[in-house]
C-alpha cells in the first residue's frame, strides 16, 4: 500500500522541489521586466534616475536577514528552540525594516518629481522594486506563520523542512534584490 519511493531519504522534499521550480518561474518574470528596462533605456528620450541612497541601507538589512535565517536553520537542527524562535523573528523584523527603507526611498523619489507621469525610468523603478517588495512581504508572512506555530500548545514542530523551505525563498528574494540593486546602479 505504501508509496514506492525507494531512495526517498536522498530525495529533496517535494515542497522544496516545488519552490525551486517556482524560483525559476519568478526569475523569468524579473528577467522579463529588467530586459524591458534595458530595451527602453536604449531608446531616445530616456532620462536615467538616481538610486536613493537609503537603498544601500536596504541592501545591508536584507543581507543581514539572510544570515539570521541561515543561523535559524542551524539552530533548529541543534534543537536550540529559543534561539531558533528568536532568529526567525529577527529575520521577519529585518524584512519589515527592509520594506520601510524601500518605502522611504520611494517617497523620496516621488518628492523629487519622479512620478508615473514624469519619468519612465522611475515608473520601471517603482514597478520592479515594488513587485520585489511584494515578494518580500509574502516571505515575511511565511516567517510569521513559522513563529506562530512555535507557540502552538497542541503540537510541537521539530521538522527543519518548513524553515529550510522558507529560508530558500528568503535567500532568493535577497539575491534578487542584490541583482536588482546592482542592475539599477549600472543601467541608470
Amino acid at each position: 500500500m505504501e508509496m514506492v519511493m525507494g531512495k526517498s531519504s536522498k530525495k529533496m522534499h517535494p515542497h522544496k522541489f516545488l519552490l525551486w521550480i517556482a524560483i525559476g518561474s519568478l526569475t523569468m518574470m524579473f528577467a522579463g521586466l529588467t530586459s524591458a528596462y534595458i530595451v527602453k533605456s536604449n531608446q531616445a528620450g530616456w532620462q536615467p534616475v538616481k538610486v536613493p541612497s537609503i537603498f544601500y541601507v536596504s541592501t545591508v538589512v536584507i543581507i543581514a536577514s539572510s544570515i539570521t535565517i541561515w543561523m535559524a536553520q542551524k539552530a533548529i537542527v541543534e534543537r536550540q528552540m529559543t534561539k531558533y524562535r528568536l532568529l526567525v523573528t529577527a529575520t521577519a523584523v529585518l524584512g519589515l525594516i527592509f520594506l520601510i527603507t524601500q518605502f522611504t526611498g520611494f517617497s523620496e523619489m516621488w518628492q523629487q518629481k519622479i512620478t508615473f507621469k514624469e519619468s519612465i525610468a522611475g515608473s520601471f523603478f517603482y514597478v520592479i522594486a515594488g513587485l520585489h517588495a511584494l515578494h518580500v512581504l509574502g516571505g515575511i508572512t511565511a516567517l510569521f506563520v513559522l513563529v506562530l506555530r512555535m507557540f502552538s500548545t497542541r503540537t510541537k514542530f521539530y521538522s527543519s523542512v518548513p524553515v529550510e523551505t522558507a529560508g530558500l525563498y528568503w535567500h532568493f528574494v535577497d539575491i534578487l534584490w542584490i541583482y536588482l540593486f546592482i542592475f539599477f546602479i549600472l543601467v541608470s
Binding site: 500500500m1 505504501e2 508509496m3 514506492v4 519511493m5 525507494g6 526517498s8 531519504s9 530525495k11 529533496m12 522534499h13 517535494p14 522541489f17 516545488l18 521550480i21 517556482a22 525559476g24 518561474s25 519568478l26 523569468m28 518574470m29 524579473f30 528577467a31 522579463g32 521586466l33 524591458a36 530595451v39 527602453k40 531608446q43 528620450g45 530616456w46 508615473f116 507621469k117 519612465i120 515608473s123 520601471f124 514597478v127 513587485l131 521538522s159 523542512v161
Partner: protein
C-alpha cells in the same frame, strides 16, 4: 515486488496527501468533496475537460457568428438579433461586436480550450497513471489550479455581458487599444475583466505546471527511469517547463499594462491623439509590449502543440501494434522544440520596424524548428509503415493530426521568411497557417486523446459509429475551411476586417468566403454529434469489461476498470521495460510491468 519498497517514509518526512489516500480506495466523501472540491487527479482532469468543452462550444459558436458576417456581409439574420440583442441590430452583426467576437474566440480557444482544456485534462489524467503514482506531488495545489481556471472563466464569461462589451482589440491585446479606455468600447471595463481573467489563468497554469514537473521528476514508480517513460509524459513535461518559464513574462507585460491603464505611466504609450486631443503620455513603446507578449506567445504555440504530439505518438504506436520509431529522436526533437520555442518570438514582429539584421537571425532560428518537426513527422510515418493498423476513431484522429501538422507546418516555412512575411503578414494566409498547424491539429490530438482514454476515464466506450462520422466531417471540413484561405492570403486579403466590399480585388473571393462559412457551420454542428456521444456514453455507453481494452503497454491499463483515488488497489506496479514493446518476439504486446525474460531479444 521487493520488500525494500515497504520501508515507510514517515521518518524522513515525505508523507503527503497521496500517501494516506492510498489506504482507502473508494472515497466515501460527500458529493461535494468527491466531485466538486476533489483532490483526485482523475476528477480534476474531468473537470478541466468538461470546462474546456464548455469553452470550446462558446468559442466555436462565436466563430460561426463572425463567419456569417464574412461570408454573407449583406444578409440579415433576425435570429441573431434575438440571440445577441444590441450586438446584431436589425439582424446584422455590428462592427464592435464583430471585433469582440474575434477577440474572445482567440483568447478562449488558445488559453481556455487548448491550454487548460488540453494539458489540464491530459497532464492531470495521465501523469500519475502512466508514471505509476497515486496522485500528483501536491493534490491540493492541483485542485487550486482548477479553481483558479474556473474563476478566470467566470470573469471572462461575465465580461460578455457588460454594457460596453468584452475586450475587442484582438487576443494579443496590443496597446494602445488595450491600454486606453477611450480607444474603443471594448477597451473599457471589458479589458479590465479580460486582464483579471488572464491573471487568474496564469496563476492556474503556473500551479498546474509546477505540479506536473515535480510529479514527473519525483514520483515515478520503481524501475520507471526517464527513458522508460511513454512519450506522452515527456511531452507533458516539456509543455509544463515551457509554461512555467514563459507565462511569468506575460504576467510582467500585463503588470506594466495595468500601470499604463490605471496609474498614468507611459511604458507602452507615446504621442497618441484621441478625437484630436493629445494625450500626455510620452516616450513609451508599443513594441515593448509585443516583445513581452510574444516571448510567451510563441512558447504558447508549443504549449498547445506538444501534448497533442505526445498523445498522438502513443496512440499511433498502440494502434499500429508497432514500437514507436526513434524513441530517443522523439524525445530529442521535443527538447529541441522546447529550446527553440524561446528563441523565435520576434518572427511575429518582422513588420513592426524590427531591425532587419536582427530579423535575419530570427528567420534562421525559426526555420530551424522545421528540423525537429520533420524528425517527428518522419517518425510517425515510419511508425505507421507496415503496421497492423487498427482504425479506431482515436487512431483516425491521430493520423488526421499528422496530416494537418504536415500541411500547416509547410506554410510555416513560407511565413518564417521575413521577406515573404512583408506580403503575407496579417493576411488570411497566416490565419490558415496557424489554425491548421496549431488550432485544428491540436484539437485533433485532443479528440484522439479523448477517444483513446475515454474507457479509462469513465469505464465505458464512446460510440464508434458516431466517432467515425465525427472524424470524417471534421477532417474534410477543416481542409475546406482553411485551404482556400491560403489563396485569399496570397492575394493579400487582410485578416480581422469586418467587410471587404470597398476592394474590387477581393470581390472574386465572395463565393469562396460563403463556402468557407457554410463549411464552418457544418463542422460546428458536427461537434454536437461528439458532444451527444460524450455525455450519453458517460452514463449509457457500452461498459468496458477488460482492464486493457486496447492491448496497450502503459501502466494506466493495469489499474482497475474504474480506479478509485489512489489508482491501484494493491501496491503500485513496477516498471521493467519501456512502453513500446509491441510485436516483440512474436508477442502482440508486453506490458511495462512484465519483467524481462531470459531468452528475450534485446530492445
Amino acid at each position: 515486488m521487493s520488500e525494500v519498497t515497504h520501508i515507510h517514509e514517515h521518518a524522513v518526512g515525505v508523507s503527503h496527501e497521496a500517501h494516506h489516500e492510498g489506504h482507502h480506495h473508494a472515497d466515501h466523501g460527500s458529493f461535494l468533496s468527491k466531485y466538486v472540491f476533489s483532490q483526485d487527479h482523475k476528477i480534476i482532469a474531468k473537470q478541466f475537460l468538461i470546462t474546456g468543452i464548455f469553452w470550446a462550444v462558446i468559442g466555436g459558436f462565436f466563430s460561426v457568428v463572425f463567419r456569417l458576417q464574412i461570408g454573407f456581409p449583406d444578409a440579415k439574420f433576425p435570429w441573431l438579433e434575438t440571440l445577441l440583442g444590441e450586438w446584431a441590430k436589425g439582424g446584422q452583426l455590428q462592427p464592435e461586436a464583430y471585433y469582440a467576437l474575434v477577440t474572445i474566440h482567440g483568447t478562449v480557444l488558445v488559453f481556455f480550450v487548448l491550454t487548460a482544456g488540453l494539458s489540464g485534462t491530459f497532464s492531470n489524467f495521465l501523469i500519475p497513471l502512466q508514471i505509476g503514482a497515486r496522485d500528483m506531488a501536491s493534490p491540493f495545489l492541483n485542485m487550486l489550479s482548477y479553481w483558479f481556471f474556473f474563476a478566470a472563466g467566470i470573469i471572462m464569461l461575465s465580461s460578455l455581458f457588460v454594457q460596453t462589451g468584452p475586450f475587442s482589440g484582438g487576443w494579443t491585446a496590443y496597446p494602445p487599444l488595450s491600454a486606453l479606455g477611450d480607444a474603443s468600447p471594448g477597451s473599457k471595463i471589458g479589458m479590465d475583466m479580460w486582464m483579471i481573467s488572464m491573471a487568474l489563468f496564469i496563476v492556474s497554469s503556473l500551479l498546474g505546471g509546477l505540479n506536473y514537473i515535480a510529479t514527473i521528476l519525483n514520483m515515478r514508480t520503481k524501475g520507471m527511469s526517464m527513458t522508460r517513460l511513454p512519450l506522452t509524459i515527456w511531452a507533458f513535461f516539456f509543455t509544463a517547463v515551457l509554461g512555467v518559464l514563459s507565462f511569468p513574462v506575460l504576467l510582467s507585460g500585463v503588470i506594466l499594462l495595468i500601470f499604463d491603464r490605471h496609474f498614468g505611466t507611459s511604458f507602452y504609450l507615446s504621442d497618441i491623439f484621441i478625437n484630436g486631443q493629445a494625450l500626455p503620455n510620452e516616450g513609451g513603446s508599443a513594441i515593448l509590449y509585443q516583445h513581452l507578449f510574444w516571448f510567451l506567445g510563441h512558447p504558447e504555440v508549443y504549449i498547445i502543440l506538444l501534448p497533442a504530439m505526445g498523445m498522438v505518438s502513443e496512440i499511433l504506436s498502440v494502434n499500429s501494434r508497432k514500437p514507436i520509431f526513434g524513441y530517443m529522436a522523439m524525445v530529442g526533437s521535443m527538447f529541441a522544440i522546447a529550446i527553440l520555442a524561446f528563441l523565435v518570438w520576434a518572427h511575429h514582429m518582422f513588420v513592426t520596424g524590427l531591425n532587419p539584421f536582427l530579423g535575419a537571425f530570427f528567420v534562421l532560428l525559426t526555420l530551424l524548428i522545421a528540423v525537429p518537426s520533420a524528425i517527428k513527422v518522419f517518425n510517425w510515418l515510419t511508425t505507421l509503415w507496415k503496421g497492423n493498423i487498427r482504425f479506431t476513431p482515436a487512431m483516425l484522429f491521430a493520423i488526421g493530426f499528422v496530416s494537418l501538422f504536415i500541411s500547416g507546418g509547410l506554410t510555416g516555412i513560407f511565413l518564417g521568411n521575413s521577406a515573404l512575411d512583408i506580403q503575407l503578414h496579417d493576411t488570411y494566409f497566416v490565419i490558415a497557417h496557424f489554425h491548421i498547424v496549431m488550432g485544428v491539429a491540436s484539437m485533433f490530438g485532443m479528440m484522439a486523446g479523448i477517444y483513446h482514454w475515454y474507457p479509462k476515464m469513465f469505464g465505458r466506450y464512446l460510440n464508434n459509429g458516431l466517432g467515425y462520422i465525427h472524424f470524417w466531417i471534421t477532417m474534410i471540413g477543416a481542409y475546406v475551411i482553411f485551404w482556400p484561405m491560403h489563396y485569399e492570403g496570397l492575394a493579400g486579403m487582410p485578416r480581422r476586417y469586418y467587410k471587404y466590399d470597398i476592394w474590387e480585388s477581393f470581390k472574386q473571393f465572395g463565393t469562396l468566403n460563403q463556402i468557407i462559412s457554410i463549411a464552418a457551420i457544418i463542422v460546428f454542428l458536427a461537434q454536437f454529434l461528439f458532444l451527444a456521444n460524450f455525455f450519453y456514453s458517460i452514463w449509457k455507453g457500452r461498459k468496458v469489461t477488460s482492464k486493457n481494452p486496447w492491448g496497450a503497454n502503459t501502466l494506466e491499463w493495469t489499474t482497475p476498470i474504474n480506479p478509485g483515488h489512489g489508482n491501484w488497489d494493491g501496491e503500485i506496479p513496477e516498471a521493467h521495460r519501456w512502453a513500446y514493446d509491441y510485436g516483440k518476439d512474436g508477442q502482440e504486446f508486453i506490458s511495462q510491468t512484465t519483467p524481462v525474460g531470459d531468452n528475450e531479444s534485446k530492445h
